[in-house]
């Protein structure tokens, strides 16, 4: 596991952020956790604009954990935007939603979410989820090139492969 790979948590509920941070600490996740508090801020972070322009301070994450109900722009808006971005479009996204409505799951999958998890209600369950996110997404999963080698390298390779683009 490359410990420098960061996680971006897009979540407007302060309490949920704290609980998840606590769970990640408990699971001994060494990777840095960055947070954004609404959809607009999340898009700014991912596109590296405004206060997030410095990629040394705000590196591209290797995983986006995305709440659905957020102010300004929702999680679905962010997902829809992300999948249309060149190069950045393949960033793995785990939806973390307070409800598991069938309609939301279907919409998120059709928009290109990698996974859909309902927010755990107990500390025990949250700890378990943190352990599995760490094991599966941070330890075993190989993120797309843009996460590991940066935007320019990924863009160059993208052009060479002549890939069709995610979910187009």
């Amino acid at each position: 596991m490359n410990r420098s790979f960061g996680i971006l948590l897009a979540e407007d509920d302060e309490n949920d952020v704290l609980l998840l941070k606590h769970a990640f600490n408990g699971a001994q996740v060494q990777n840095p956790l960055y947070t954004t508090r609404d959809g607009e801020e999340t898009i700014d972070y991912l596109s590296g604009t405004g206060v997030f322009a410095d990629r040394n301070e705000y590196p591209l994450p290797t995983l986006l954990i995305l709440d659905l109900k957020m102010p300004k722009r929702t999680g679905m808006d962010v997902l829809q935007w992300l999948r249309k971005q060149p190069v950045l479009n393949c960033l793995p996204v785990v939806i973390l939603s307070s409800s598991g409505h069938r309609h939301d799951i279907e919409r998120a999958y059709r928009l290109g979410a990698n996974a859909f998890v309902v927010k755990p209600s107990s500390n025990e369950e949250r700890g378990e989820l943190a352990r599995y996110i760490k094991g599966f997404w941070l330890q075993f999963n190989q993120p797309p090139l843009v996460c590991t080698e940066g935007f320019e390298v990924a863009q160059k390779l993208h052009a060479e492969v002549d890939a069709p683009g995610c979910f187009l």
Binding site: N89, C90, P92, G100, R102, I105, E106, Y109, R110, N114, A115, F116, V117, V118, E128, L129, R131, Y132, I133, G135, F136, W137, Q139, F140, N141, Q142, P144, L145, E149, A154, L157, H158, E160, V161, A163, P164, G165, C166, F167
Partner: protein
């Protein structure tokens, strides 16, 4: 044809018998709760997902919620299977995890581009296969949500 995915069913598309053997054994050791069905090439994988003969009985061959997909396979390779899956709107909920011995960088990106949810390199030893089995079980079977295609039971 029923399109209801069974949450505890995984389809493994893998042509190498020794890899199938190791994965079966590792998943059993990881306490896998469901069933693991195996197909040996890309065409069989598509046949299974379509529910074609001999996979036309969904009681016997249930639709999986997760496909573990090797890339280098005869007849149709993993990329071709991915390409086919994304053309089937009713399979939108099927999660595809690529499991390959390839570490080629363009393969990683192409797999994501073609709609894979995750890209894994086959672990080098058995212990790591068991560990991976636990994480697949925990994340994909326990926490990840699945849904059936619209208009189906």
């Amino acid at each position: 044809m029923s399109l209801t995915p069974d949450h505890s069913v995984i389809l493994l598309a893998e042509d190498r018998a020794d890899d199938v053997f190791i994965i079966r054994k590792a998943f059993a050791q990881a306490g896998f709760p469901g069933s693991l069905f195996v197909v040996k090439d890309g065409e069989q994988a598509i046949g299974y997902l379509k529910g074609e003969t001999p996979y036309d009985n969904r009681v016997e061959y249930p639709l999986p919620s997760l496909l573990l997909l090797d890339l280098n396979m005869p007849r149709k390779n993993g990329f071709e299977v991915l390409q086919w899956i994304r053309q089937q709107p009713e399979l939108f909920a099927l999660r595809v995890v690529v499991l390959t011995s390839s570490e080629a960088r363009p393969d990683v990106n192409l797999a994501y581009e073609l709609g894979a949810q995750s890209f894994l390199t086959k672990p080098a030893d058995f212990e790591n296969f068991v560990e991976l089995g636990e994480f697949i079980k925990g994340f994909w079977l326990q926490f990840n949500q699945t849904v059936a295609a619209p208009g189906r039971k």
